[in-house]
């Protein structure tokens, strides 16, 4: 069992290259001159996040594909730009059978609603657990009851919207620093205040983790059940992230803000857009890795958070392929 998180981040400009069946990174200084070279051990990583300007050639990419390593590319403002994911005989996501079953499940309204509902139930229960943990009186029962009666995705989404509103209202009670991080309304693209910028950053990370775990199974990330898949490229990871956002993301935000690890000083304004400084990103990523490698016990087996996410994807896969009952992961 893998206990550590096998993710590598590149935060400096440079050149990523293959040499002798291993991966080297040449760090560039301000004049694009090599100032440092280090080895990235190929067997110790599963994915690489490229957050800066990094040069890479086809020889290296082919090598990474052979080793089943996933790359995530980010634009200059920290916005997600795309993945490079291996498509060699070595990679696993090639089952026509699973794809067909996934499409059939999507077309079957009863089954689609069932999966969407189970995901939302897990999301609500996990979010309510967060409130209870911080000693806040929050009753999720009426929302769960309303969800029970929902017959289609629109109604599920409406229940979820009502729940999210009530849930976010609790945030001001949980977060102590109400001066800099007061939650008024959720805003995206771009996030308008610091708390929203924080939520957006953490959520993007969780989406990516979910996506890379989905890529390790045979599910097609284009077809989702809770979200409407028609108008975007990939969406299944958004479904999966619904369950894990309260567990990983929201808890991370609460604890980092309440311990004053992230303060108003960690934000920089860039042409009207809020972004984190490099130091802040390092702090958040350390927390993120810590949270992803914490272990949880399910039945008799112990899983890291990342493996729990993969197991969740596998549970959905099994529900799709074999009609077995599906229940979302709820933190014990």
């Amino acid at each position: 069992m893998l206990k550590n998180d096998r993710t590598h981040f590149i935060l400096n400009n440079g050149l990523l290259r293959r040499k002798d069946d291993n991966l080297y990174f040449d760090k560039f200084d301000n004049d694009e001159q090599i100032c440092d070279t280090k080895i990235i051990p190929i067997n110790a990583i599963d994915e690489i996040y490229l957050l800066t300007k990094v040069s890479i050639d086809s020889y290296t990419l082919a090598f990474l594909a052979d080793q089943n390593i996933l790359l995530h590319f980010f634009g200059p403002f920290g916005s997600f730009r795309g993945n490079f994911y291996p498509n060699t005989p070595n990679s696993v996501n090639k089952s026509g059978f699973v794809l067909l079953e996934q499409l059939r499940s999507f077309d079957d309204v009863t089954k689609r609603t069932y999966i969407a509902k189970q995901i939302t139930v897990a999301r609500m229960q996990n979010a309510a657990k967060n409130c209870h943990k911080y000693g806040i009186d929050f009753d999720e029962k009426p929302f769960l009851n309303a969800l029970e009666k929902a017959n289609n995705n629109l109604e599920i989404m409406a229940c979820e919207g009502g729940f999210a509103k009530a849930y976010f209202e609790c945030w001001n009670k949980i977060i102590k620093d109400n001066k800099s991080f007061k939650f008024t309304i959720r805003s995206k693209r771009p996030p308008l205040d610091k708390i929203n910028a924080f939520i957006s950053y953490v959520n993007t990370r969780i989406y990516n983790v979910c996506l890379s775990e989905i890529y390790k199974t045979e599910l097609d990330p284009r077809i989702s059940f809770l979200h409407e898949p028609n108008y975007r490229a990939l969406s299944l990871h958004l479904d999966l992230a619904e369950i894990f956002k309260p567990i990983i993301g929201d808890n991370l935000i609460f604890s980092m803000l309440n311990k004053k690890e992230i303060t108003a000083k960690d934000f920089a304004s860039d042409a009207g857009r809020l972004r984190f400084t490099n130091e802040a990103i390092k702090k958040i990523e350390m927390q993120m890795i810590d949270r992803l490698s914490r272990t949880y016990k399910i039945g008799e087996q112990t899983f890291t958070m990342r493996q729990v996410i993969r197991k969740e994807a596998n549970k959905i896969k099994r529900c799709i392929c074999e009609n077995s009952p599906y229940e979302g992961f709820v933190l014990a």
Binding site: M1, K94, S95, V98, Q301, N314, C321
Partner: protein, 165 residues
């Protein structure tokens, strides 16, 4: 429709071990690729005779082919021999395919694990059994649904365990 040509050595091995595993594997539902045992198996598979690629039946993916006193002998390396029957069946499958396709008179094989060597004889009795096994596999894979999971002792170390349970 799944047919006899699509049966592979790994599938025969899985079929002997667990019917559900075989069904899933044939439908390209793969086990966890980062499982320790799977990684070790892959590393073992990479110790191959370099010139095997030129051999016309190289898609069979056995580990070693040698000529012995005028007849062929094939070798399969295994990490453990806990699952003896499956390893033998896998080897027997390679022998069966080679024998029938190349019209060989005599073929033998061995499974090597550490210092233990298991010899497998290519006699008619074994080949008739193999023929029946292949037919069983084809009919199993053509079932519309996977056989339901049954918790066994071996499930603990199986890379499919996070899918089955």
């Amino acid at each position: 429709m799944f047919n006899q040509d699509q049966v592979s050595g790994t599938l025969v091995n899985y079929f002997t071990t667990c019917k559900r595993e075989a069904w899933l594997y044939a439908h390209q539902i793969h086990a966890r690729q980062d499982d320790e045992n799977i990684l070790m198996g892959k590393a073992l598979a990479s110790i191959k005779e370099p010139n095997l690629q030129d051999f016309p039946f190289s898609n069979l993916k056995f580990d070693k082919l040698s000529k012995l006193k005028g007849h062929y002998q094939i070798t399969e390396y295994k990490k453990t021999l806990k699952n003896k029957e499956a390893a033998i069946n896998q080897l027997l499958f390679y022998m069966y395919i080679l024998k029938t396709n190349l019209k060989l008179k005599l073929i033998s094989g061995k499974v090597i694990c550490g210092k233990t060597v298991l010899s497998v004889e290519g006699n008619d009795e074994n080949f008739v059994k193999m023929k029946l096994t292949i037919e069983d596999i084809v009919s199993l894979v053509n079932e519309p649904k996977a056989p339901p999971p049954v918790a066994k002792k071996i499930c603990k170390n199986c890379a499919y365990n996070d899918y089955c349970f």
